[in-house]
């Protein structure tokens, strides 16, 4: 168990980061901190994927000098998935930030609990 952890320290770090991001997104009251948590969580997954696609001693899958030998290159699929994931996470972050701006303009705070209290006072 311990040896496995040390041999795969990259994956272990990715999982730790995922946990940190997840907890922040779930537990923080401040919306900006929540969004930071979201980005940490997503980046942790991309780190995990990138590690899974990397093969030691090989180069990135861009053909140079017409070398078509597959043994030379790393697995390109996880890199593709990471790129797709980044696009998704950028758009989601943008949406969350715009929601935060809307809430801030209306209630002058980014604390979700305070906003809930203000809403209750509004009583609508």
């Amino acid at each position: 168990m311990g040896e496995n952890l040390f041999a795969n320290y990259g994956e272990a770090v990715a999982m730790l980061l995922f946990g940190i991001g997840f907890a922040n997104l779930l537990l923080q009251k401040n919306l900006i901190k929540k969004i930071i948590g979201l980005n940490v969580m997503d980046s942790a997954i991309y780190l995990f994927l990138a590690l899974k696609g990397y093969i030691f001693g090989r180069v990135d899958p861009i053909i140079i000098d017409g070398d078509l030998n597959a043994e030379r290159y790393i697995n390109p699929v996880p890199s593709g998935l990471v790129l797709t994931g980044i696009v998704v996470s950028v758009s989601v972050t943008a949406l969350m930030l715009s929601l935060t701006i809307r809430l801030y303009q209306r209630y002058h705070t980014v604390d979700l609990d305070e906003i809930a209290i203000l809403l209750r006072k509004e009583g609508k």
Partner: protein, 496 residues
């Protein structure tokens, strides 16, 4: 006939293109484009449904003709075709039924945005139904979430923006977990297509490899989808999101969006990880317990509620609990019952939300029970529709709700270990359902004492037509249940 094999892809692409084109159109034009799209997609889904019924087999559409382990695929069988047809029909009815309300609540220059979101939502639902590739499923889950968030906050009040924020936060937690579990599946198997993952996983399970990672993956994907579809402890975002958004949004969200995720979970259970492996992992026992808890807690919260929309929203929590209880029972019959309940709940909840808005409109826009007294006399159509929906939810014969309760009970009896808790909770939950729905129906049919009652009922042709269709669909599901159950069984058979 081969052209029908292209229909799943064409319908998804058409919806996305429709969304893009709508962004350059005015509100009215976008509305007509959306209506045309919905009709086209409904016809195409009906063709797919008919075609798979006729051939008695599913077909796979290979995107760009890249063969199996590399390319991306869509797959359609009876269940997929039927679900797509059903989703389109319900979406059409929700939109037509809520159109008049939409015109009041959404600023005219933003109306085209609403239809963009609807087009994108439909495309993502269709993709979740048809896709054969896990990563594509993830991407469309996110599109679904984003467009659902837009639908919640289209009326731009403080409440809806806050509800949308909460919805986004919970949904993002869910999609993070789903993405991680998909990455772990890819890590274990080296594939993203459902069939290839299934083959490799079955081989490694028989060889005894990957026990712990597989358990974690199953747990994460189940919890992720449970968060997104508002299973009991994760339901906190739901009442605000459904309760304060405009009525078409509430109807679409409750009857379609959460169901799309649940359908994906069914595909994961059958086609990715395998029915036996999932049940051997005992993760479904946890779903069973939370399903039961949701059935009780959702109904209790609904009883305490004073607002007709929030009450209907809490009732959704209870109904999602029923569906997960079916998964937890772990038999084919229970799965059929769950899928039937997806249909039944979608029809009924759409009807309830539409009619509740009709009732609130004639009560000075108030949604509180006190003001709703006698509203069924002021808007007869909405009163009848709410009554029918309530009867179906409680489980009165002739309506679809009765059949799904019957199927659940039958399935529970055949599972000796879980029979007692399932039957007891089913009975208690039915009684609780009856308490809050009958309370509401009695309230709206009690003549009002004060003279504020006579608000003129507007001409609401679209609303009336939509509710009549929904009631008819509800009764159809209740009366022709044998045919529908057979179809679901055939569809599940095609999954394997």
């Amino acid at each position: 006939m081969d052209i029908i094999c292209n229909f799943p892809c064409i319908s998804i692409v058409m919806c996305i293109l429709g969304g893009i084109v709508s962004s350059a159109l005015k509100g009215r034009a976008a509305k007509y484009l959306n209506a045309v799209l919905l009709v086209c997609v409904t016809v195409m889904s009906a063709c797919v449904f008919g075609y798979t019924m006729m051939t008695g087999d599913s077909f796979t559409y290979v995107m760009g003709r890249f063969p199996a382990p590399w390319g991306n695929e869509l797959r359609a069988g009876v269940l997929e075709g039927g679900m797509a047809l059903f989703f389109c029909t319900i979406m059409m009815l929700c939109l037509f039924g809520g159109q008049e309300k939409l015109r009041e609540e959404v600023e005219p220059q933003k109306l085209n945005l609403y239809y963009i979101l609807c087009d994108l939502l439909l495309s993502s639902l269709l993709s979740l139904v048809y896709t054969n590739d896990m990563f594509t499923a993830y991407v469309f889950i996110e599109i679904n979430t984003i467009s659902a968030c837009g639908l919640i906050m289209i009326s731009q009040t403080g409440r809806t923006i806050e509800a949308a924020t909460r919805y986004m936060i919970m949904s993002l937690l869910g999609s993070g977990m789903i993405l991680l579990s998909i990455c772990m599946l890819y890590d274990m198997t080296g594939h993203l297509l459902m069939e290839n993952i299934h083959e490799t996983l079955t081989a490694s399970v028989t060889a005894g490899h990957f026990h712990v990672p597989l358990m974690i993956t199953i747990g994460m994907i189940c919890v992720g989808i449970a968060i997104k579809s508002a299973l009991f402890p994760f339901h906190t975002w739901l009442p605000d999101a459904y309760g304060y958004s405009t009525v078409s949004s509430a109807a679409i969200l409750s009857s379609l969006v959460s169901k799309g995720y649940i359908f994906l979970l069914i595909k994961v259970i059958y086609r990715v990880i395998g029915f036996d492996v999932i049940y051997a992992s005992r993760v479904t026992d946890i779903l069973f317990v939370f399903g039961l808890a949701g059935m009780i807690m959702g109904s209790l919260s609904a009883i305490k509620e004073n607002d007709i929309f929030r009450m209907t929203a809490f009732s959704s929590v209870a109904q999602i609990g029923y569906i997960y209880m079916g998964f937890g029972l772990g038999t084919q019959a229970a799965m059929v019952a769950s899928i039937f309940h997806i249909l039944s709940h979608a029809v009924t909840k759409a009807l309830l939300f539409l009619s509740a808005s009709g009732l609130a409109d004639v009560s000075g826009g108030s949604r509180h029970f006190i003001d709703l007294t006698g509203s069924a006399y002021r808007n007869k159509m909405a009163g009848v529709a709410f009554g029918a929906g309530a009867l179906s939810m409680v489980g009165i014969p002739l309506f679809s709700g009765f059949i799904s309760k019957l199927l659940f009970a039958e399935a529970a009896v055949r599972n000796s270990g879980k029979m007692l808790p399932a039957l007891i909770v089913l009975a208690v939950s039915t009684i609780l359902n009856a308490i809050y729905f009958m309370k509401t129906v009695i309230r709206i049919y009690t003549p009002a004492q004060s003279e504020q009652a006579s608000v003129p009922v507007k001409k609401q042709k679209l609303f009336a037509a939509a509710t009549v269709c929904l009631i008819a669909l509800n009764v159809f599901l209740g009366l022709c249940s044998d045919w529908v159950v057979d179809l679901i069984g055939t569809g599940l058979g095609m999954f394997v």
